[in-house]
Symmetry: none
Subunit: 404 residues, 2 copies
């Protein structure tokens, strides 16, 4: 069986056509009332509707049918990586999600502050969900720990959560979580799953012992657990697999981090509006041929259960679109990484609207508006998100014929 990567390496060719992948995070939605419209259907989007009329619509399945994705795997799929094949550890995602760098050989972990009783047993696995402004200084304190031969980075994430990255020689990530997933028992020691990881386990145990000393006087966050030990997954770069020279325009660290894992150049953005992000694309237009643009707000409003706010966030992108189109991309895809229906206030498994616009090569369908129902009747049908990348390349004239 010819692997996907080998197929791509055989077919990919270069040209100067430019591809834009515009991701409205959490784009897919649900009607609030039976018979009603989704957020995208309710939004007034004359630009996207025009592109829908000129282009072709479909739906993407982020992971597998029924599986709601986190942001990491959902974006990997959009970048052309099967998220069940290219697994990125939780520690790495947490670390890159707050802007920590993780390079091959580093070990990243997710940390939780917890509350210990006088016997060292956990009484609250989340330290009473300690507020972020209380927890952040504690993480600063932990940054004071130094151990011989390694460099240690710690960064606060949110409430009781933080990320930890250790850099050094010969580190191994095959380590068990220290969170016993229960109260009334002490945190576990870091245990190596393989003999080669023994030294790394001891290193983390020394770090934990020092951290406990530094936290001993805290009322709630007087202990911690570490989970999801993992290292840079060494994903093959988009450049090596798909032959593109890719750039990422995103405001939030998580999306900048995932992009860097596949070798994208992460661009600077001044401001947070769609106009600001499109401006960053314009500034780098000559230097790259694939632009991933990430718009966070539709997902945030969806998670808030704010239907109208999500509609407005979508409309704001639509208003800014002419500036992006003016750049003259050969191929533009507008989609989401997953659905975040305001009605569910969370990521969901529902297939995600996809609009593909490529004037030179598209086979237009009969749809004239961008929305879930139009997409489900669209000419692209329902496809795995991981297959979008090859469609983009094809429409950019960047794939040779397979076989004679």
């Amino acid at each position: 069986m010819l692997s996907h990567i080998d197929l791509m390496r055989e077919l990919v060719k270069k040209n100067d056509h430019r591809i834009i992948l515009l991701v409205l995070d959490g784009l897919g939605g649900l009607p609030i009332e039976p018979g009603g419209q989704t957020e995208l259907e309710a939004a007034r989007t004359p630009e996207m509707d025009r592109l829908a009329a000129e282009g072709c619509l479909g739906l993407t399945v982020p992971i597998r049918p029924g599986v709601a994705p986190g942001s990491g795997p959902a974006h990997l799929a959009l970048f052309g990586y099967d998220p069940l094949e290219y697994l990125v550890g939780r520690g790495v995602l947490e670390a890159v999600g707050v802007g920590l760098k993780v390079i091959p050989g580093d070990i990243a972990a997710r940390g939780n502050f917890c509350t210990l009783d006088s016997g060292g047993r956990i009484t609250d696995r989340r330290a009473g969900r300690i507020r972020s402004e209380m927890a952040a200084p504690l993480v600063e304190r932990l940054r004071g720990i130094s151990l011989p031969g390694v460099k240690i980075e710690a960064r606060h994430v949110k409430e009781h959560r933080f990320a930890l990255v250790v850099r050094g020689q010969g580190l191994q990530p095959d380590l068990e979580d220290t969170d016993p997933q229960a109260t009334g028992v002490p945190p576990l020691d870091v245990v190596a799953r393989r003999p080669e990881a023994q030294a790394t386990a001891e290193l983390f145990n020394r770090w934990i012992a020092e951290a406990k000393g530094l936290l001993a006087s805290e009322a709630h966050a007087n202990g911690l657990t570490l989970r999801g030990f993992s290292t840079d997954p060494r994903l093959p770069s988009m450049e090596s697999v798909y032959g593109v020279h890719p750039a990422c325009v995103a405001v939030y660290p998580m999306y900048r981090g995932v992009s860097s894992l596949v070798g994208m150049r992460v661009l600077d953005v001044q401001g947070e509006s769609p106009e600001d992000e499109f401006g960053a694309v314009r500034a780098a237009w000559k230097d790259f041929d694939y632009f991933f643009i990430h718009i966070k707000k539709p997902d945030s409003r969806g998670e808030d259960g704010d239907f109208a706010g999500k509609v407005e966030a979508i409309e704001a992108v639509d208003r800014a679109l002419p500036a992006l189109l003016q750049l003259g991309p050969e191929v533009l895809a507008i989609t989401g990484d997953h659905s975040t229906p305001a009605r569910l206030r969370s990521h969901s498994w529902h297939p995600v609207p996809l609009l593909l616009w490529a004037p030179a090569t598209i086979r237009p369908d009969s749809q004239t508006t961008f929305g879930e129902n139009a997409c489900s009747a669209g000419g692209l049908s329902t496809i795995p998100a991981k297959d979008l990348m090859t469609l983009l390349l094809a429409h950019a004239g960047r794939l040779d014929k397979f076989g004679a």
Copy 2:
């Protein structure tokens, strides 16, 4: 690559939401005349049409495009088992299909009566398709055979076919069929494919020798062949993979047997009507959270070539539906295991209508009737039947998010 089972074990969570999978066997059909309606489209189904309007439609592909399935693999797919990965031996399917129990370690086989000439050569591989009322007493006679150290069950299936199950210590199923697939030659001996199966081969050969003695005076069924030696495939249970506590309501032994292979509790049913089957669901409603209900008649009428009879069988289910809905399932899927168009009088490969109803989380499409054409334009698109289970779980709120 994360396997499907590992993915499920990571994501599955429990709650008290209830799922009903209502299978109308052979549901999919074909129009008799060009431009006509299928059986389902011709049926008057106001209840299903209402559910279609509230829910979402699609089509399922039972095995792979173009492949018409038997009942066993078709149902395994609906239960979330890829039927090309989880292979169940023909002997096991034949045995459980007539209600014989097959537990790990048992060896099951399909038996055929055949006609031998005076030289022991096969003249008819099916004993002139001996009538069932003639064959059944012969199987009774074979039940008189006993061999040391094993327990042997034989049961008549239909015409020249019967099923055989041998229970004992150390039995091995790696045995060649004895049917030479030709006339003019004698049945083959049971031959072991591996040395470990040698003793089992000898055991079956002794059984065959005794059986030949008991059949010697028969005019037509004076010989037999055995095929499809196999053992319990030890399928992972639905409970272990999908976290449901499943029950089966089915009248026919085949469907009860396949359900038991995936660990479903097979419920007692008084009577054979849809009302009787739904009554069995009601009686056990509190005790399970997943109900598979099997309705045989649409398939039987399809196999008879009885278009009107299949229409009537579908309408009978529709009339009974309110009693099922009254139980208040969170998720209801109505589909078939495969198509059995009356026009073809057999199972076919045509994709199967699927209606998914789940008020809390469904993304409704614009379809308002349940039928093949509506389904092909439905919001669920065309999916592999094996993916239905994860969709059911998702809509029941029983799957966690994948990745961070």
